[in-house]
Amino acid sequence: MKISKKIVLLGHFGVGKSSLIRRFVENTFSEDYKVTIGVHIFKKNVSIPEKGTDVSLVLWDLEGNDDISNTRLSYLIGTHAFIYVYDVSRPATYKNLESELEFLKEKQKNTPITVVGNKEDLVTKTYLKQNVDDFGSLTDLYVSAKTGHKVDFLFSKLAEALI
């Protein structure tokens, strides 16, 4: 039987949610910023050799919002996992990280959340260490949609964890 998992990407606007999906699905990247409104849905099959199976990831790319409570709740129905994306170079996108995650946990109690700091190519490793109090302790992975760093790793590990 085909396994299908719905993954919802959320976070502020301009943090690179669409770019992460495009990098993962099409292996492309564009510097041009195009605002996402509503939701775009993409699909990609990921094979998990360790478990001898394929997973079909249905990726919901949600419109960015500077307040997560404005998210249309119908989009969250049937979600298997969230990826919360912020921009490591822009403090406005992670200043309320803790409360945003709390909101998600409240709405979808048992749905796992992966917290991702995107645009890691724009900052130094020292910068990431220095900001451990702001976002470091809550972050699962630093990625770059631009360079592709850790993007495949993010989705394939998530797919594996969801089986």
Partner: protein, 506 residues
């Protein structure tokens, strides 16, 4: 006929489809998409894959707004409504095509988001630039400070050496040493000034001073300098200029001498003109116009703004010495008086710098006269000076200067205990303490505080003169609070040291 028109010209925006509870399309009106019937909904578009959990027999309406769909090679942005019913009736799917509506919304959101992101990035850049600026200024202040001790040594020993028996050639060498070290001192002063200005630590004083004396002194010095370079020095001082005005004489001198130095530096033939006139006196304010004209190399129009930038030298001639800070300092100082400096220039013909500066026209206080020869103590008494300093160069400089006067005994202390023990020794009173501030193991101002807390009444009041390069406003206030009487700025020369000792001895 109307129905025919409607069919022909009405663009359908709604599609209705009936689903079974397994998610298969059992009926469709084919208005937007033609080929949905008999298909599993999840195969039509991945968006519908999550529908299986919603296909239950309950009265319920679920709305998904603004969903982007690509079906049958057609892209639309639609609101999707799934209506379920409790009596076992099949669920109804409604696709509402709102593409043009959402396209408008997208354009608005694009503009808004880009503007928010750009302003956030700009704010971050500003924070970054400010942090960089603070770092730069702190670095410059510390670096310049470290240069002061060796420079004090060079200046002092050049002075001392010049008073020994020298032949003509040696005297020439001393002149070069003297002018080079003074040039170095001027550069360090400029660097410190610009860091003080850029960190917002510069404050202008308003003291009465004799404007005509100052202008005549500058004229005298620069006439010599210009003529030495083979240039004519022309000047015109308005007869209506007030003699006494209130303002910061030191900084005015700095503005004018920087502009005149600049004019002479970049002129190899012709003249330098120094004009000063009274604009107006109104409401206790005297507006004075200063103009410096040269017939030098001039500046290209596109570089006119650049010349006022720190560390900028637009001449492109490496043989012309300087830090490129002179005009930046001038601009900042003039702007501190809420005035502006303007420049007009023709390459190959020369430049004119001019500014109007406001002063207090009738200052109430009297002009302080310079106390010349203050360093000569009139009594034959010998004074005990305690030098608290761990730089050997400065120790030796002070020792040589004081020894040459024959009026002082000098003790040197480098540790806090030694200082306090020496001060507490009432059998051999200290008449004055020369206190370095930034010693390797302790701070001079901290020791000053301890001295002021000593029990012996006469010793605890011993005059303390700080010797330091750190003379920002907050530093001076710190020294005052610590009980320090006066401050000698490093690097200093013989007369500055003797002046300050003489001034503070009882």
């Amino acid at each position: 006929m109307l129905e025919d028109y409607k069919k022909k010209y009405t663009k359908p925006v709604l599609q209705h489809a009936i689903l079974d509870f397994n998610g298969n399309v059992v009926e469709s009106d084919n208005t937007l998409f033609q080929d949905l019937k008999d298909k599993y909904i999840g195969d039509i578009h991945p968006f519908f894959e999550t529908f299986s959990a919603l296909l239950i027999s309950e009265d319920n309406e679920t709305v998904f707004s603004c969903v982007h769909l690509e079906i049958e090679n057609r892209n639309i942005t639609a609101d999707i409504i799934l209506q379920t019913f409790k009596d076992g009736k099949n669920p109804l799917l409604i696709i509402h095509d709102l593409t043009s509506h959402y396209l408008n919304y997208q354009s608005t959101a694009q503009v808004r988001n880009e503007s928010v992101i750009n302003s956030q990035i700009l704010e971050l850049k500003n924070i970054y630039l400010k942090e960089k600026e603070v770092f730069k200024n702190r670095f410059i202040a510390n670096f310049s400070h470290e240069l002061r001790d060796p420079l004090t040594g060079i200046l002092t020993f050049t002075d001392i050496l010049s008073k020994t028996n020298l032949d003509l050639q040696q005297k020439d060498y001393i002149k070069i040493l003297h002018s080079s070290s003074n040039f170095l001192k001027k550069m360090i002063d400029d660097i410190l000034d610009i860091s003080k200005i850029e960190s917002g630590n510069l404050e202008l004083s308003i003291e009465p001073f004799n404007l005509l004396d100052l202008l005549n002194e500058i004229k005298f010095n620069y006439k010599l300098k210009a003529e030495h370079k083979g240039l004519k020095f022309l000047h015109s001082f308005d007869e209506k200029l007030p003699e006494i005005i209130g303002g910061d004489a030191k900084r005015l001198r700095q503005v004018l001498t920087n502009l005149l130095d600049n004019a002479i530096k970049f002129t190899s033939n012709g003249s330098v003109t120094f004009n000063v006139s009274l604009n107006q006196i109104r409401a206790q304010k005297a507006s004075i116009h200063f103009e410096i004209i040269d017939t030098g190399i001039g500046i290209e129009e596109e570089k006119l703004e650049e010349i006022f930038t720190s560390f900028s030298q637009v001449s492109g001639d490496d043989s012309i010495k300087g830090t490129g800070l002179g005009l930046a300092i001038v601009k900042h100082l003039v702007e501190h008086t809420k005035s502006k400096i303007s420049v007009s220039s023709t390459p190959g013909k020369g430049s004119t710098f001019s500014t109007n500066i406001n002063f207090v026209s009738k200052p109430s206080l009297k002009v302080k006269k310079d106390k010349k020869k203050q360093s000569q103590l009139t009594t034959s008494k010998k004074y005990n000076i305690l030098l608290v300093e761990d730089s050997e160069i400065t120790q030796l400089s002070v020792l040589k200067i004081l020894a040459s006067q024959g009026q002082f005994f000098l003790d040197i202390a480098t540790k806090p205990d030694e200082v306090l023990a020496r001060i507490s020794n009432i059998d051999n009173e200290v008449d004055l303490v020369l206190m370095d501030i930034k010693l390797k193991e302790f701070r001079g101002d901290e020791i000053a505080k301890k001295i002021r807390k000593l029990p012996e009444r006469h010793q605890k009041k011993v005059p303390i003169v700080a010797m330091t390069a750190k003379v920002f406003k907050e530093d001076l206030s710190l020294y005052k609070k610590a009980g320090i009487n006066d401050v000698l700025t490093k690097p200093f020369n013989e007369s500055q040291l003797l002046d300050i000792i003489s001034k503070n001895l009882k």
